[in-house]
C-alpha cells in the first residue's frame, strides 16, 4: 500500500476545474463540428468558458507543488508510462488549443465575412484534435489515480470514465450558466443521458471496489456521497429535466446541482484514496 | 567472579567470543546476548549455522529468545532450581561424561563423614553468629595429605554421591513449582543441553547480569560450572561457562584490580588483621600445590614495579607502603558509609551512580552528605547534577561539585581487554574537544601534582606516595610505557620479561600485573597490536590476533580437551594433544602440542603424576564440583531476599549469608503489599544510565521513554492498556512508566498459585534529551554473599494505572 500523497484542496479544485474546462471544450468542439443552428453559440460559449478555467489549472497545480519554478520540471521529459507526465503535456497542448479556439471565435466576428468561413473552418479543423485532448484531460486524472497503490484508486479502471461523464455534465452546466439568449434546449437530453449514464458508471465503479465501496456507501463519507453525488448530482437534475419543462430557473438549478455533484464526486474520490 | 574462580581456578570467561561458533549447544541464560552483545552475537549465529541448538532461558521472551530454537521462561531468582534440575536430569539419566568427571574433577574425592546438608543448611551453621563454621567442609586425606578417592564414584562419601543426593530433590515437578517453568519446556531444554555430555560434544553457557545480580549469584554460577563439568564441557572448544563481560574493557579493569579486594593479577589485597608483614602475607596466601605456589614471585615483582628502588629486601620490598584493607569497600558499603556521613570526598570517573546504583534514593541522598564531589564526564550526568534532581532543594545541598570534561575512548589510544581476555590495542580516532582530557591524563596529573605537593614532606603517611615510581610523561601518559611496566622487566637491565615464568621473588624483576606478562615480550614489541587473523573455517583460535592472558592461551584448561591419555575427545575440534615423539630442547621426548598454547606444563606426560590434572590453578588440579563459598560448598536454591513465595526446597527462605543493608532508607517490601516480582534489564538502544545514549537523538528516537513490560493477564487484572502510563512502586520508591503489554511476559503458575512478573529497563534519569524515572529507585541494597553485587534482578513491586 502506497503512502498518502496528501493531495490537497488544490488538487480537488484542479480536478473539478480541469474537468469543467475539458467538458466545456469538447462539448463546444463537438457542437462546432456537428451542431445545427443554435449550436454555434454553444461552441462559442464553450470555448470561452474553457480557456480561463484551463488557465487556472496550472496555478492550482503549482500551488500544490509549493514552488512555482518546479512546475516546469514536468516538461523535462515525456514519459508515456506516467499519466502525470503525459497529462502535463496534454494540459499544455489543451491550453494551447483552447487559446487558439477562443482566438478564432473572436476572430470570426472581427474579420470580413468572406474570410469568416475560413476562420470557422480552421477552428473546426482544430476542434478534432482539440476534442480528443479534451477527452484526455477529462479522463487522465482518473487513469492517474488508478495507477497508484492507494485504497479505492489503485488499479481501478472506472475512475476515468466516471470523470469523463462527469466532465460532460459539469461542462454542460458551465455553458448553461452563461447568460445568453436564445437558449439551447438540447442540454435537456444531454443531461438526461449523461446523468443516467453516470449513474451506470458509478454503479460499475462501486461494484469494482467490492468491499472497499463501503467508504462511500456506509462510511463517514456516505452522507456526502448520497446527498451531494447521488442526490444533488444525479437524481435531482435527472428528475428536473424529466418533469420540469422550460424556463430559465430549472435550467439554472440543474446546472448548479450538476456542478455541486461534480465537485462532490471529485472531492470524494480524492478523499477516499487518502483516508 | 568467584563462582568460576573457586570451581576452575580462574575467575574469567573460560573460552572466548569467536570460540562460541564451535558449540553444539548454546545455552543463554541470565543474559540477553542478542540485545547486549549484538556484535558478538554473530558467533552464536555462526554456531547455529553449523547445526548448534540455541536455548534461551529468561523470565521474559527477549530478542535472544526470538532467535532461539527453544525458549523456557522462569521466575526471576530461581536459576539454581532450574540448573539444579538439569544436574539432577543429567545424573538420573546417566548423561554425564563419565571419564571426564572421574578423572578431571573432584567428584571422586571422599568428603569428611561429618559433612552433610539438612533443612537448607550445610553442617556448621551457627544460628547465633549467622555464619558457617567450615570445619567439616573438607576431604578425607591420605597420609601424604592428598585427598582420598573412590574412582568408582560409589562410596556414599564421594563428592559425586553427595551431589546426587543433594540435587535429587530438584525434580522436573519441583522445577515447575519453584521456577514456574512448565515441566515439558524445562525437560526440552534439559534434554537438548544434556546431549553435549557425550564425549566430543561441546555446549557453552553464556551468562551475564541475569545471573550475577542476585543474593546468591556466586552459587548460581557454581551450579552452571558443576553442570558443565558433568557434561565435560570445560576446557574444550565450543564449551565453557562464559561470563559475558559488560563493557568492552571490564575484563581489563578487573585484571588491573579496579576492585577493592584485589591487587593486579588477582593477588589478594592484604588486610591489616591477617597480613601484618610480607612474610605473613606470603605464608597465608600461597597454597602449597598448584600454580599459585608461584604467588610470591608475582607479588614481590609487583611491589618492585610500584616502589622501584624504594623496595628492597630489607624493607619487605616496601610492603608496608601498600595500603591494607580494614573494612569492606565494595560499592554498596561505600554508599552506606557515605550515607552515614563517613566520607568526605568522592571522585567519580566513568560512572553515574545516581542512576546505576541500587536504591538510588538512598545513594542520591548520600551524595548530599559529601563535602566535595569530582565528576569526570562527557555530559552533565545525574550524579554531577544530583543537587538539582527531583525532590532536592539546591539551596540545602552543601556539597561542592567539580565537573571535569573527559575525552571519550575514541579520542585516545590504549588497550582493551575483552571478555575473552584478549588485550587489543586501539588507536585514537579524533582529538578531544575543548578542555576535555583523557582519564590517563587525569590520573597522571593527579599523581604528579600530589607528588609535587608532598615533595620534601617527612610525614610517614606521605612517604608511600612519594616512593611510588611515576615516570610516564608530563601530560598524556605514554601508555606503551605503562604496558611495558605491566608486562614486567628485569630490574638490572630494564629488559622486558618474556613471560611470568621469568619473574622472581628476590627483587630482581618488576611486574605490574603478572597475568599480562608476555604482552610486551621485547623492546618495541606490543603484542596487543598484532593483527593476524585465522582463516574463517578454522577453530578461530587466532593466536596471531592480539594477546590473550595468560601467555596467549585462548581456551583455559585446554588440557581437558584431550582425554586422560592425551588424545583429543574430538579430533575436529582438537586444541592440544600429547605428542610422545616431539622433541624438547633438552633432547627429551614428548610434549603437549596443538593449535592453542597448552594450559598445562608442556612436558608433563599424561601418565606422569599430575598429568591428568587440567585445572592447574587449583591446589589439587581437579575441577571443583565441591568447592566452598560463603554459603556452602554446593549450591542450593534459596528465594530472593524479596520474594512473593515460600521456599519449597527447605525452610530456609533466603540465602542465610546474603548481605542486607539496614540504613533507614533500606526498606524491604512485604509480599502482601508488593506481590509482583520485578526485574531490571538493558535495551540494545541504550547504554546503562543513558548519559551518552539519552543524549543521542537517533537512539532517543528509537527508545524515547521508560516502559514497564507486563503480561496481558496482569494488565487485564489491573485494567492497564498497552501504551498507557503506569506507576510501579516498591518499598523504596516509585517510578512512572509506559505500559508495554505483551505476550512475551507470561504469568508463572507455581502449583496452584499464579505469580506475576514485570520488567523495567533501567536506562532513564532526570538529565539528557529523554528524561524519565530511574528503575533503581525501586531496587534494594541487598548483596550477594560473596561479591556483594546488588540484587537488582529479582525484587518486589506493585503496579497500577497512572
Amino acid at each position: 500500500m502506497g503512502k498518502n500523497p496528501a493531495w490537497s484542496w488544490y488538487i480537488v479544485w484542479y480536478f473539478f476545474v480541469g474537468g469543467m474546462a475539458a467538458g466545456a471544450y469538447f462539448l463546444a468542439a463537438l457542437a462546432d463540428l456537428f451542431g445545427r443552428e443554435r449550436t454555434p453559440a454553444v461552441a462559442r460559449i464553450g470555448y470561452t468558458v474553457a480557456l480561463p478555467l484551463i488557465l487556472v489549472s496550472p496555478v492550482l497545480l503549482t500551488l500544490d507543488l509549493g514552488m512555482p519554478l518546479r512546475t516546469f520540471y514536468m516538461f523535462r521529459l515525456l514519459k508515456v508510462s506516467s499519466p502525470m507526465s503525459v497529462g502535463s503535456w496534454a494540459l499544455l497542448g489543451f491550453s494551447l488549443f483552447s487559446l487558439i479556439s477562443l482566438v478564432l471565435v473572436l476572430a470570426e466576428r472581427r474579420v470580413a465575412p468572406d474570410r469568416a468561413l475560413g476562420v470557422r473552418q480552421l477552428r473546426r479543423a482544430l476542434a478534432v484534435p482539440g476534442t480528443l485532448l479534451g477527452f484526455f484531460i477529462a479522463s487522465y486524472t482518473g487513469v492517474l489515480l488508478g495507477a497508484t497503490n492507494r485504497p479505492v484508486w489503485g488499479g481501478n479502471a472506472w475512475i476515468g470514465p466516471l470523470f469523463i461523464v462527469s466532465a460532460t455534465s459539469v461542462g454542460a452546466a458551465a455553458i448553461a450558466l452563461w447568460p445568453v439568449r436564445p437558449r439551447f434546449t438540447g442540454f435537456r437530453r444531454l443531461d438526461l443521458i449523461t446523468t443516467a449514464f453516470e449513474a451506470l458508471v458509478l454503479l460499475v465503479f462501486l461494484q469494482s471496489l467490492g468491499a472497499a465501496a463501503a467508504v462511500f456507501l456506509t462510511g463517514s463519507l456516505a452522507p456526502l456521497f448520497w446527498g451531494a453525488v447521488v442526490g444533488a448530482g444525479l437524481a435531482l437534475p435527472f428528475l428536473i429535466q424529466l418533469f420540469v419543462r422550460g424556463g430559465r430557473a430549472p435550467e439554472l438549478a440543474t446546472a448548479v446541482l450538476l456542478l455541486v455533484g461534480g465537485f462532490a464526486l471529485r472531492y470524494l474520490v480524492l478523499l477516499s484514496g487518502q483516508a | 567472579m568467584p563462582g568460576l574462580g573457586t570451581s576452575f581456578g580462574r575467575g574469567a570467561m573460560t573460552n572466548h567470543w569467536i570460540d562460541v561458533k564451535n558449540a553444539d549447544a548454546v545455552l543463554i541464560m541470565g543474559s540477553n546476548a542478542a540485545e547486549n552483545h549484538p556484535i558478538a552475537f554473530k558467533w552464536v549465529l555462526a554456531a547455529m549455522e553449523r547445526g548448534a541448538v540455541l536455548l534461551s532461558v529468561d523470565p521474559r521472551f527477549s530478542r535472544t529468545s526470538a532467535l532461539a530454537d527453544l525458549y523456557a521462561p522462569l521466575r526471576s531468582g530461581t536459576d539454581i532450581a532450574f540448573l539444579g534440575g538439569m544436574i539432577n536430569h543429567v545424573l538420573r539419566n546417566n548423561l554425564f561424561q563419565r571419564e571426564y568427571v572421574g578423572e578431571y574433577t573432584n567428584a571422586s574425592f571422599l568428603l569428611d563423614p561429618a559433612f552433610g546438608f539438612k533443612d537448607g543448611y550445610f553442617t556448621g551453621w551457627d544460628p547465633e553468629k549467622k555464619t558457617y563454621d567450615r570445619a567439616t567442609w573438607k576431604f578425607q586425606v591420605e597420609a601424604d595429605g592428598t585427598p582420598k578417592q573412590d574412582g568408582s564414584l560409589r562410596d556414599p562419601h564421594t563428592v559425586f554421591q553427595h551431589l546426587r543426593r543433594h540435587f535429587a530433590r530438584y525434580t522436573p515437578e519441583m522445577v515447575e513449582r519453584v521456577c514456574g517453568t512448565p515441566k515439558a519446556e524445562f525437560l526440552r531444554v534439559a534434554e537438548a543441553f544434556a546431549r553435549t555430555g557425550a564425549p566430543g560434544k561441546a555446549g557453552t553457557i553464556m551468562y551475564a547480569m541475569g545471573w550475577t545480580q542476585h543474593s546468591k549469584a556466586t552459587q548460581l554460577i557454581r551450579t552452571a560450572a558443576i553442570l558443565q563439568m558433568l557434561l565435560g564441557n570445560i576446557g574444550v572448544a565450543g564449551g565453557g561457562v562464559n561470563a559475558l563481560r559488560g563493557l568492552s574493557n571490564v575484563q581489563g579493569s578487573t585484571d588491573m584490580a579496579l576492585l577493592f579486594h584485589i591487587l593486579p593479577g588477582y593477588l589478594g589485597m592484604p588486610t591489616r588483621k591477617d597480613h601484618p608483614t610480607l612474610a605473613a602475607y606470603l605464608e597465608k596466601e600461597t597454597p602449597k600445590t598448584g600454580y599459585w605456589v608461584n604467588k610470591p614471585k608475582f607479588f614481590v615483582s609487583l611491589l618492585r614495579a610500584w616502589y622501584g628502588e624504594a623496595a628492597t629486601k630489607d624493607n619487605e620490598f616496601a610492603y608496608q607502603y601498600l595500603p591494607k584493607n580494614s573494612a569492606n569497600y565494595s560499592y554498596m558499603d561505600l554508599f552506606e558509609a557515605m550515607y552515614a556521613g563517613k566520607l568526605k570526598g568522592f571522585i567519580v570517573t566513568g560512572q553515574n551512580p545516581a542512576v546505576s546504583g541500587p536504591n538510588s534514593t538512598l545513594e542520591r541522598k548520600a551524595l548530599e552528605k559529601l563535602e566535595w564531589l569530582v565528576v569526570r564526564e562527557l555530559f552533565e550526568t545525574e550524579t554531577a547534577a544530583f543537587w538539582k534532581g527531583p525532590g532536592v532543594d539546591p539551596a540545602k545541598v552543601q556539597t561542592e561539585v567539580f565537573l571535569l570534561p573527559s575525552s571519550t575512548h575514541l579520542e585516545r589510544e590504549g588497550s582493551y581487554t575483552n571478555s575473552g581476555r584478549w588485550l587489543q590495542w586501539k588507536w585514537k580516532a579524533a582529538d578531544p574537544p575543548g578542555d576535555a582530557r583523557s582519564d590517563g591524563w587525569f590520573a597522571n596529573q593527579l599523581a604528579l601534582r600530589l607528588k609535587a605537593l608532598y615533595a620534601g614532606s617527612r610525614a610517614p603517611t606521605d612517604r608511600a606516595f612519594l616512593a611510588l615510581t611515576w615516570d610516564y610523561g608530563k601530560e598524556e601518559p605514554d601508555l606503551e610505557k605503562v604496558l611495558a611496566e605491566v608486562n614486567g622487566y628485569t630490574v638490572a637491565d630494564r629488559k622486558p620479561v618474556k613471560s611470568f615464568a621469568f619473574l622472581a621473588d628476590d627483587g630482581s624483576t618488576a611486574c605490574g600485573n603478572w597475568i599480562y606478562s608476555g604482552v610486551f615480550p621485547a623492546e618495541g614489541q606490543n603484542r596487543a597490536k598484532s593483527r593476524k587473523a585465522d582463516p574463517p573455517e578454522s577453530l578461530g583460535i587466532n593466536a596471531g590476533w592480539a594477546f590473550s592472558w595468560p601467555v596467549n592461551r585462548r581456551i583455559l584448561y585446554n588440557r581437558a580437551s584431550a582425554d586422560p591419555r592425551g588424545k583429543p575427545w574430538n579430533q575436529e575440534k582438537a586444541l592440544i594433544w600429547w605428542d610422545a615423539e616431539a622433541e624438547l630442547p633438552d633432547g627429551k621426548k614428548g610434549k603437549w602440542v596443538g593449535v592453542d598454547v597448552p594450559d598445562f606444563r608442556p612436558d608433563l606426560a599424561p601418565d606422569a603424576k599430575g598429568g591428568g590434572n587440567p585445572f592447574i590453578m587449583r591446589p589439587d588440579g581437579k575441577g571443583g564440583i565441591f568447592a566452598p563459598l560463603a554459603e556452602g560448598p554446593l549450591p542450593e536454591h534459596y528465594e530472593p531476599v524479596e520474594s512473593p513465595v515460600k521456599n519449597l526446597l527447605s525452610n530456609v527462605q533466603a540465602n542465610p549469608m546474603a548481605v542486607i543493608y539496614k540504613a533507614d532508607l533500606d526498606k524491604l517490601g512485604d509480599p502482601k503489599e508488593f506481590p509482583i516480582v520485578a526485574t531490571t534489564y538493558r535495551l540494545t538502544e541504550h547504554q546503562h544510565t543513558g548519559s551518552i545514549t539519552r543524549n543521542l537523538p537517533w537512539l532517543v528516537e528509537m527508545m524515547p521513554n521508560l516502559f514497564c513490560e507486563m503480561s496481558r493477564e496482569l494488565a487485564e487484572e489491573k485494567g492497564i492498556r498497552n501504551g498507557a502510563p503506569v506507576i510501579v512502586r516498591s518499598a523504596r520508591g516509585e517510578v512512572r512508566a509506559i505500559a508495554a503489554v505483551t505476550g512475551r511476559f507470561k504469568p508463572f503458575k507455581l502449583g496452584d498459585r499464579v505469580v506475576h512478573e514485570v520488567g523495567i529497563p533501567w536506562h532513564w534519569g532526570f538529565m539528557g534529551l529523554a528524561k524519565g524515572d530511574s528503575a533503581n529507585m525501586l531496587t534494594p541494597h541487598v548483596g550477594d554473599a560473596n561479591t556483594r553485587i546488588q540484587e537488582s534482578k529479582a525484587f518486589l513491586v506493585d503496579v497500577r494505572k497512572a
Binding site: K3, F135, G154, T185, R189 | P38, L45, W698, R744
Partner: protein
C-alpha cells in the same frame, strides 16, 4: 550485473544498527517519538527514516509465541511503480538495479508516494521533495557496501550480485524448512519482475506487512485508458444526439 540486498529475517536480532547507520550516512534527523507499547519506533518510514526495523509478535501455527523482526526499506523493484509514474525523471534507475532519486529534479508532486506498493517513498515537508532509500550509490559505486549492510552485525543484511544472493537465499530457505520452519520463504524473486531487495521470511509476507502480490501501479493504465476511450465515445455520441436532435434547433 544486477546488485541487491538480501534481508535474512531469520538472522536479524533487531539491533537496529541498520536503521541508525542509514540515518548517519545520509544525514537524516531523528523524529520526535513516544513509546507506544512496542519496541518499534518510528512507526513508519519517512523522509527522515529510510530503513526501519519492524517488531512483530505473532503466534505460529503451533501456538508458540514468535517475535519476528524485519529490516525494511525500498525494494528497488524491477517494475518500479515510483519510477514509472515519476513525471520529472527525478527517480531513475542505476545500471546495477538501484532506483535512485535525484533531489534536484524532484518537484514534489508525490505521485511516487501514492504509487509505491510498499509505502516506501515519503514526502519531506521541509524540502518539498520526496525521500527514500537509494541503495547508497555513493558507496556502492566506490566499491563499498550500503551503510546499513556494513553495520549489520549478524549478516542479516548482505549485499552482492543478485543472482548469487538468490541462490544464497534459496539455500537458507531450504535450511530453515529442514529445521522445521514451515513458513520459511523467499520474497522478491519474481514479485514485480524481481526486487533488488530480497527477503528470507519466516512467515507469510502479510505477517510482515508485505503485500502477497504487490501491484505494478501503472499496470492499470491500459485498461483505464480503454474504459476512458469507451466512455469518451459514449459521451461524444451523446453530445451528437443532443446537438443534432430536435432541441438542437433552439428554444421550442
Amino acid at each position: 550485473m544486477a546488485k541487491a540486498i538480501l534481508v535474512d529475517t531469520s538472522k536479524c536480532i533487531a539491533c537496529r544498527g541498520c536503521q541508525v547507520a542509514c540515518k548517519q550516512w545520509h544525514g537524516r534527523r531523528a523524529e520526535p517519538t513516544r513509546f507506544q507499547g512496542s519496541y518499534e519506533n518510528p512507526l513508519a518510514l519517512s523522509a527522515q527514516t529510510w530503513r526501519r526495523v519492524g517488531f512483530i509478535e505473532t503466534a505460529g501455527g503451533d501456538g508458540r509465541l514468535r517475535w519476528r523482526f524485519i529490516s525494511d526499506a525500498c525494494k528497488h523493484c524491477t517494475d518500479a511503480s515510483c519510477l514509472a509514474v515519476c513525471p520529472t525523471g527525478a527517480l531513475f534507475r542505476r545500471t546495477w538495479g538501484a532506483v535512485d532519486l535525484n533531489q534536484d529534479i524532484c518537484n514534489g508532486c508525490r505521485y511516487c508516494v501514492a504509487a509505491c506498493p510498499f509505502g516506501i517513498v515519503a514526502f519531506n515537508e521541509e524540502s518539498g521533495r520526496v525521500n527514500k532509500c537509494v541503495l547508497c550509490p555513493d558507496r556502492v559505486e566506490a566499491g563499498l557496501e550500503p551503510a546499513c549492510v556494513t553495520t549489520c552485525p549478524t549478516d542479516a543484511l548482505t549485499f552482492g550480485d543478485r543472482d548469487q544472493l538468490l541462490s544464497q537465499a534459496k539455500r537458507r530457505v531450504a535450511e530453515l524448512q529442514a529445521k522445521g520452519e514451515k513458513g520459511a520463504q523467499l520474497y522478491g524473486e519474481r514479485e514485480l519482475s524481481g526486487l533488488h531487495q530480497l527477503f528470507v521470511l519466516q512467515e507469510r509476507p502479510q505477517v510482515y506487512g508485505l503485500p502477497e502480490q504487490p501491484r505494478f501501479a501503472v499496470a492499470s493504465v491500459f485498461p483505464s485508458s480503454v474504459t476512458s476511450v469507451l466512455a469518451s465515445v459514449v459521451m461524444g455520441v451523446t453530445a451528437l444526439v443532443a446537438f443534432r436532435g430536435r432541441g438542437g434547433k433552439g428554444e421550442e
